[in-house]
């Protein structure tokens, strides 16, 4: 059993290792001069130059002005790269119960998705998912961590920073 579990982890690590070179490879070409920044239209580009996540208040799903600002940038970026499909993942802090947080996280993902659609992004390019409180990006149980964990994270499909597993089968 232990050996099998180790095997599963090894497989995940390999996939992750493969994924990044693939993303970079996509960015080269088209006769562009190689620049030092991330490839336009890539997950790295989204994270570095647009902002991949918005944050919510405790037990809230409404979008702050910071959030709508970020989402407007995401909408513009998505219109610039119409071939890119994204996953919007809703997340919650650890101060709620497991299954309620599944629904709360879905509400958060929906709120972000609906804003992108209202900005003109084709809804068929946006998949949503809720991880509830099961994929915290900040590990503490303090308020600073909780603020980080009440979010909706937009990622290029296949490059969700929260998906280390579930990609292998």
């Amino acid at each position: 059993m232990n050996i099998k579990m180790l095997g599963a982890f090894a497989a995940v690590a390999l996939l992750a290792a493969c994924a990044k070179p693939a993303a970079t490879a996509m960015s080269t070409g088209a006769g562009q001069t190689v620049t030092s920044g991330p490839a336009p239209g890539s997950e790295e580009d989204l994270v570095a130059n647009v902002g991949d996540r918005v944050f919510y208040g405790f037990n809230k799903t409404s979008l702050s002005s910071d959030a709508t600002g970020t989402l407007s940038h995401q909408a513009g970026w998505l219109q610039k790269f119409p071939q890119v499909a994204v996953l919007v993942a809703g997340n919650c802090d650890s101060r709620g119960t497991e299954e309620y947080n599944l629904a709360l996280g879905q509400r958060r993902a929906d709120a972000a998705r609906d804003y992108l659609v209202a900005q003109g992004v084709d809804g068929s390019r946006i998949q949503t998912i809720s991880y509830g409180k099961d994929r915290p990006v900040a590990q503490g149980d303090d308020e600073a961590s909780a603020q980080q964990n009440r979010n909706a994270i937009t990622s290029v499909q296949g490059h969700n920073p929260q998906e280390g597993t579930g990609t292998s089968s």
């Binding site: 299954e99 309620y100 599944l102 099961d134 994929r135 149980d141």
Partner: protein, 462 residues
């Protein structure tokens, strides 16, 4: 005195459907059968009605009730069984069941001969240990067959309360031990026990930011742990069928959060209805023939019922709020659930057709995870305020009592006789399972090989 037959589940080792991970497990079993034969009281035991009435008031009798046992656990002696088996130590398993439930105190039996010459206990010698009840037994193994005889004695009156012989395949030895512990519980306390049961739960390993969550199952005492899913997809929230070898649970298969059934006898997983949006919080109807769960739609989640394959959908709530964690009363006439329709999470009860919704939780904080006791008289819940708490209240919301409080405790589940709940303590990859008597005493950690959450207690297997 009649013989009765118990069917025992074959517990291991056929046809893995995911290599090395899923093993075929049956609950009511196909292969192993146990024949239970009543043993007459030996002629030398005084009068000895083998079926002494539960709650008997013979002076000093070990036969009492749960309430009295909570205050004063029944001292019971369980000396080593005669004979032996290569399979394991039944007496240790029986003793652990009885000790851990808090209603018995297994006294030191070393140095006292189980029986006097001729086969009857030397009741005088057993009185000296302080024990009020005595369990004697023998084990004989022939090939793969095990024969276990056991007798339960009421020491002070000097009577036999029970005598039964079981024959089964040797691999079922732990189940025989649990069944004997359940018989002892029932004979001395007057109600069914809960030792021949299993726990389904979610096993978590890996980093907290990206954990691997697998559906797992083990015996009630932590033995025979098995992983039912391989961790490719996150699994959450298992609940046992009351009537079949099935577990309903939530899975992220293909990155869509939906309710599935896991069939324990075949090791296969099936989707409960091809809904276009998230389904979660499944639970079976008391007859096991339908599922009640939450269907996320348009910013809220509705409570629906459907067949085990997802057909015949009925929508019971559509408030636009998050309505979740529905659970039937044992008679199927009512449903308790949580909803944030009033602004934050509270508990509500409604008729099984969705009528007459009324709020029942009015304490300080938010309320979640309601579970109706199999006895019908209590609802367990998680309460959230400054911290998390697990407690119980009557179905009308009265008599709220908190049993355990910390960051975080949640996901209570009742044992089949409603006397004990199990829940999880701790978050993420540091969570553990804990059991506690519903009066709030006898909190016990449940051993699991990994971090564990979302416990679900099975019905009695036999």
């Amino acid at each position: 005195m009649t013989s009765s037959t118990h069917l025992l589940g074959e517990t291991d080792d056929t046809a893995p459907t995911v290599p090395g991970l899923i093993r075929r497990i049956t609950r009511r079993g196909m292969i192993g059968t146990t024949l239970a034969t009543a043993l007459a009281a030996p002629a030398f035991a005084q009068s000895a009605p083998a079926a002494a009435p539960a709650g008997g008031d013979a002076a000093g009798s070990a036969v009492i009730d749960v309430n009295r046992a909570r205050t004063a656990p029944i001292p019971i002696a369980i000396p080593p069984f005669a004979g032996g088996t290569s399979q394991g130590d039944l007496v240790s398993v029986i003793s652990a069941d009885l000790n851990n439930c808090g209603l018995f105190h297994v006294v030191d039996a070393s140095g006292v001969a189980a029986t006097a010459p001729g086969g009857a206990p030397d009741f005088g010698a057993w009185k000296g240990t302080g024990a009020q009840a005595l369990v004697t037994g023998s084990v004989t193994q022939s090939g793969d067959q095990l024969r276990v005889e056991f007798r339960l004695w009421d020491i002070l009156p000097g009577t036999q309360l029970q005598g039964t012989a079981y024959t089964t395949s040797a691999s079922n030895w732990r189940r025989i031990a649990h069944i004997i512990a359940d018989v002892i519980y029932q004979r001395l306390l007057g109600e069914k026990g809960y030792f021949d049961t299993r726990i389904a739960y979610i096993s978590t390993i890996g980093p907290r930011s990206n954990p691997t969550k697998r559906l797992a199952i083990m015996d009630q005492d932590g033995a025979n742990n098995r992983f039912l899913t391989d961790g490719s997809w996150t699994a959450l929230g298992p609940r046992f069928s009351p009537t079949r070898d099935q577990i309903a649970f939530i899975s992220y298969v293909n990155k869509i959060v939906r309710v599935y059934l896991f069939d324990l006898s075949s090791g296969t997983r099936s989707l409960v209805g091809n809904f276009r949006t998230m389904t979660f919080s499944p639970r079976f109807a008391p007859d096991g023939n339908s599922i009640i769960m939450s269907l996320y739609q348009n910013g809220g989640s509705n409570i629906i019922t459907c067949s085990l394959s997802g057909g015949n959908v009925r929508t019971l709530t559509s408030s636009g709020a998050i309505d979740a964690n529905p659970c039937y009363s044992p008679d199927g006439s009512q449903i308790v659930f949580e909803s944030d329709r009033g602004g934050d999470q509270q508990l509500y009860v409604m008729g099984a057709d969705g009528s007459n919704v009324r709020r029942i939780s009015f304490g300080a904080g938010r309320y979640a995870d309601p579970v109706w006791s199999p006895r019908g008289d209590q609802i367990a819940f998680t309460r959230l305020g400054g911290s998390f708490a697990v407690g119980i209240m009557a179905p009308d919301g009265s008599g709220e009592r908190i049993l355990s409080e910390s960051f975080d405790v949640e996901s209570p589940t009742f044992c089949p006789n409603g006397r004990v709940i199990m829940f999880q303590r701790g978050a993420g990859t540091a969570s553990r399972l804990v059991s506690i008597d519903i009066t709030g005493f006898n909190e016990q950690a449940v051993q699991t090989p990994t971090s564990a959450s979302d416990p679900a207690w099975s019905p009695l297997l036999s």
